[in-house]
């Protein structure tokens, strides 16, 4: 039920958005995310976008993962 893949907003008309993933497009409602803009990635659930992804936060999370990986690697070298 909560399966939701990030979809790219290609165009918007009257709170209806054309969204795309891997070349496949469909129309979803922006009733619950009226602030979504073209170029945003939205989380779509049962035909409605229920959330908008924040790129800055995503990049920070990935950076955190990389720091952990670097740290782990460094410790390996020390311990190895």
């Amino acid at each position: 039920m909560c399966v939701a893949i990030p979809l790219l907003v290609k165009s918007i008309e009257d709170l209806q958005a054309e969204v795309e993933m891997g070349g496949v497009t469909r129309v979803v409602s922006l009733d619950l995310t009226p602030e979504a803009k073209v170029g945003d990635y939205v989380i779509v659930h049962a035909g409605y976008a229920i959330g908008i992804l924040d790129e800055e936060e995503a990049l920070e999370t990935l950076e955190l993962f990389r720091q952990i990986a670097d740290l782990t690697e460094g410790e390996d070298e020390v311990s190895g």
Partner: protein, 363 residues
């Protein structure tokens, strides 16, 4: 940034696993609430990567699985009413009720239609103005706002033949009920990423405050889940209890206010009956007075008869994290995805189905 491959990097996953192994010292029990997490954890083999001290349990986060038989029976009986078109998400079709299923009544001639969205159900109502069209409203806080939005749309368009059978459920009260029961003995909870996108991470602050349990809100990709597990292990080992949001690209502390406004404009909180848990106060949604004309329970009088539970089926215990599917005598022998006895084997997000498909013989 496409938000998918970046969060599936095997090298980063290996580093996160190593980090978890290093930090983990004592045995802990972690429950993932959400069925989509359950499937992702199995699909990516995450359980096998974790040190033996970390026990992962699946929770009640599959709406199909927690729908009480009495509610399902009501829906199945409703399909026998003259001219009714029942619309539903596909997962509900094969769930066995006390005496039948929606799939069986459809085979017997009832008009049961699978839809992807309430937008489809509303379109069926527009196309069939002389027939009552009922949408089977199951789901958590992710689904309820979409159903509320369709009701508001129907109101605006003056569609008078569109009804909802509201069986929505709220996730924090169910989590409380599981913790109050005490038999799952949890140390940490992986919070549902998309439910929390709607309700906000603040909604889980009661876990550290009232129960001394940490909660990590995570997304559904492998790196998200591993980082969530690491956050829980780290807090538990450090003796800290808090809510950590590792899905900040989607989840804000306050959630999605527009979605919550839609939901609470149409619905108000009520008690709800959960399979395996029983009646949980303030854990369901019913129509507010001014939207009663959309309520299928007001429009139809249906007598589904007495409720029967499948004997020997342990879905109720599985939902509470008290038993695992292999502990059920029916699992894999009698109960399979082709011939499901209980809902946890029917739903694609059910714990039994996930064990059957991904865990192999070793579990």
């Amino acid at each position: 940034m496409k938000y998918l491959d970046e969060f599936r990097d095997p090298a980063l996953a290996a580093a996160l696993v190593q980090n978890i192994r290093r930090r983990s010292n004592r045995p802990i029990r972690i429950m993932e609430f959400c069925g989509t997490h359950t499937v992702s954890i199995f699909k990516h083999g995450i359980r096998q990567l974790l040190p033996p001290a970390i026990e992962m349990l699946s929770g009640p986060g599959c709406p199909v699985c927690v729908t009480a038989n009495a509610d399902l029976d009501w829906a199945i009986t409703l399909t026998g009413e003259p001219e009714v078109i029942l619309t539903t998400f596909g997962d509900m079709l094969r769930v066995p009720g006390s005496r039948s299923s929606l799939e069986k009544t459809r085979a017997e001639g009832a008009d049961v239609r699978v839809v992807y969205s309430t937008l489809d159900a509303l379109q069926i109502a527009r196309d069939n103005p002389d027939r009552p069209v009922v949408f089977l409203g199951i789901g958590f806080e992710t689904t309820a706002p979409t159903i509320a939005a369709s009701v508001l749309q129907a109101e605006a368009e003056e569609v008078t033949n569109y009804y909802i059978l509201s069986m929505h459920k709220l996730t924090p009260p169910a989590t409380r009920a599981i913790l109050d029961a005490g038999d799952s003995r949890l140390d940490g909870i992986i919070g549902p990423g998309h439910v929390t996108t709607v309700i906000g991470s603040q909604a889980w602050e009661f876990l550290p405050r009232d129960y001394g349990i940490s909660c990590a809100i995570t997304g559904f990709e492998p790196l998200d889940i591993l980082q969530g597990i690491y956050a829980l292990v780290d807090r538990i080992e450090a003796g800290q209890r808090e809510v950590t949001n590792v899905y900040s690209r989607s989840v804000r502390p306050e959630g999605n206010r527009v979605a919550l406004e839609h939901m609470y404009k149409v619905f108000e909180i009520c008690a709800a009956d959960w399979r395996g848990i029983g009646e949980v106060p303030a854990s369901g949604l019913r129509f507010r007075e001014q939207y009663h004309r959309f309520d299928a329970r007001d429009r139809f009088e249906v007598d589904p008869g007495p409720t029967l539970e499948p004997s020997e089926c342990l879905c109720g215990d599985v939902i509470r994290g008290v038993k695992t599917p292999p502990e059920c005598g029916l699992f894999r022998e009698v109960c399979t995805p082709h011939h499901p006895v209980g809902p946890c084997m029917v739903s694609s997000e059910g714990t039994c189905a996930a064990y059957y498909l991904y865990a192999g013989e070793q579990d």
